[in-house]
């Protein structure tokens, strides 16, 4: 039995008396109106506050083990260093609450709203946070190991140095979240969204990131050893210093990644190099033609999957690209009076001017970046070219269909006329 009954507690509150440090174990106050009340250092183990209105209440250092707060309003409540081990906070509104250094081990926070809550150094081991809202929550140094965070919304949350080892982040949303130095060993993060998040120095050893979205994320010096990244998206991710998975990645969706070191300008790597880097496999050997070099009247052939970067002047040259070979004309690169053919991927940061039309024949992908220029005709393959043009590019180009398509079209038109 509690030291005070619910009626006595309510009377004390109304008369302005303090109920701090009281033994209130098992107190039942469901749906009570207790806004701003202080239960500081009270023993409220097993108390029932289901649906109670406790906005701005002070529960600092209170013992609330196995307490029942389902559906309670705890907005901006002060629960700093409270002991909530095994408490039920399902569907509770804890937005803006202070739970710094609170013990929430094994607590049920499913579908709770913790947006903007302070949970720094909180103990959340084995807590249930499935479907919880943690938008912009402060979870730096929190212990979230073995926690269920499936489908939780953690966009813009601060998880710096948090321990998420063995946690479940399946389909969770962590867009623009801070995960610098976080530990995510053995984490299940299938389909999780880390878009534009900061994950630098994080550890994802043996984590399952199948179909995860890492688009635009900062992955510098992340440890992916033993992790699964099959079907993951990583276009635009910063990957310098990444420790790869150690096994091939199936279906990685990364058109390019940025391998620039801290403070260096963007260093784009194409899809093949991105997959090689993230898988930790030996990267395709790159053929590089540096500044100042001049090649004239040359015929060059590059194998399937080759990676070629040109920063030189190529004059009257013919380049044949094998399937999926990548050709990057760097900012200083100039291909004058040249011809490129084959089912490769071409990126133009510099200049390309054709000799005979079509100057570019059969590319699977053609990107002209801002500052890049292309003068000539491009003949698409039958399966068509994936084009991308960045604002600021300069084009004088004709796009043509594959020769056999054009021939077939002419035959059809001729047939109609007859």
């Amino acid at each position: 039995m509690p030291e005070l009954t619910a009626d006595v507690v309510l009377r004390k509150i109304k008369s302005g008396e303090k109920v701090e440090r009281a033994d209130l174990r098992g107190l039942a106050m469901p749906k009570a109106s207790l806004e701003g009340v202080s239960f500081r250092r009270c023993d409220l183990d097993g108390a029932n506050f289901e649906g109670a209105r406790l906005a701005r209440a002070v529960l600092k250092n209170a013992s609330l083990r196995e307490a029942f707060f389902a559906g309670a309003d705890l907005r901006e409540a002060n629960l700093e260093s409270a002991d909530l081990e095994g408490a039920n906070l399902q569907g509770a509104n804890l937005s803006g609450a202070n739970l710094s250094r609170a013990n929430l081990e094994g607590a049920n926070l499913q579908a709770a709203d913790l947006s903007g809550a302070r949970l720094t150094h909180a103990q959340l081991e084995s807590a249930k946070l499935g479907g919880a809202k943690l938008l912009g929550a402060q979870l730096a140094h929190a212990d979230l190991s073995e926690t269920d965070l499936s489908t939780a919304k953690l966009d813009q949350a601060d998880l710096t140095s948090a321990n998420l080892n063995g946690s479940n982040l399946e389909e969770a949303s962590l867009a623009r979240a801070q995960l610098r130095d976080a530990q995510l060993r053995d984490t299940t993060a299938k389909g999780a969204r880390f878009t534009e998040g900061v994950l630098a120095n994080a550890t994802f050893c043996a984590a399952d990131l199948t179909n995860a979205d890492l688009t635009g994320a900062d992955l510098r010096r992340v440890n992916f050893s033993g992790a699964r990244l099959d079907g993951a998206a990583a276009t635009g991710a910063r990957v310098h210093g990444v420790l790869g998975t150690g096994t091939p990645i199936q279906g990685l969706r990364a058109d390019w990644v940025d391998d620039a070191a801290e403070g260096a300008p963007v260093k784009k790597l194409g899809a093949a190099d991105a997959a090689a880097l993230l898988s930790g496999q030996a990267a395709t050997q790159k053929r590089y033609f540096g500044r100042g070099d001049v090649l004239r009247n040359a015929n060059l052939e590059f194998d399937a999957g080759a990676s070629v970067e040109i920063e030189s002047l190529f004059d009257q040259c013919t380049i044949a690209l094998g399937n999926d070979a990548e050709l990057v004309i760097g900012k200083a690169g100039v291909l004058s009076g040249c011809q490129i053919r084959g089912a490769g991927k071409i990126t133009i940061h510099g200049k390309f001017v054709e000799r005979d039309a079509p100057g570019i024949q059969g590319p699977t992908q053609l990107v002209v970046s801002s500052g890049g220029s292309l003068i000539g005709a491009v003949e698409q393959p039958p399966e068509l070219t994936r084009f991308a043009f960045e604002p600021g590019c300069m084009l004088r180009m004709k796009i043509q269909q594959a020769r056999r398509d054009r021939a077939a079209e002419r035959a059809v038109k001729g047939g109609r006329q007859r």
Partner: protein, 159 residues
């Protein structure tokens, strides 16, 4: 002359299922969810995935997710959707985003010409389109299309 703020707030809408043949000139941005065949002049043109514009177009800005055919002059062009055969796009700036590998193409280009870059537009400024003239839009399959003169015509389907 229409007040600038009003022009910015209002827009001319050609709704899905509506087909407009003739010349259209507006001080407001034009949004096309249906189909326009003819000359078009406006500060901005937006073509939704269900929309199609076939003809001669002179606008400040084009954002297209639909179908374009004909001659397009603009300062800024953002493209996805389809560009049909015999189309010319002239712009100071063109943006086409890269589609995901193995995904749907961002833009399906037919046989067309792209003239992009500020140098070109300064050198080869096209004359302003007349407010309303008879139009002969390019036929998608080479068949003749009857042009329609719509000077001071009621906004049948437009507006």
């Amino acid at each position: 002359m229409m007040d600038k703020d009003v022009a910015q707030r209002k827009k001319t809408l050609v709704e899905e299922g509506t087909q407009f043949k003739g010349a259209i000139s507006s001080d407001c941005p034009i949004e096309v969810k249906g189909r326009i065949e003819g000359d078009l002049a406006a500060p901005a043109l937006s073509v939704s995935p269900s929309g199609a514009v076939h003809g001669r177009v002179k606008v400040g800005e084009i954002r297209s997710d639909g179908e374009l055919a004909g001659e397009f002059d603009a300062d800024v062009v953002q493209l996805s959707g389809t560009v049909k055969d015999n189309t010319v796009i002239r712009a100071k700036s063109l943006e086409v985003k890269l589609a995901a590998a193995n995904g749907k193409l961002q833009v399906v280009f037919g046989e067309c010409e792209l003239e992009v870059g500020s140098e070109h537009v300064e050198k080869k400024e096209s004359p302003a389109l007349p407010k309303a003239t008879s139009v002969r839009p390019p036929a998608p399959d080479g068949a003749a299309v009857t042009s329609t003169k719509l000077e001071n015509a009621p906004p049948n389907g437009a507006g």
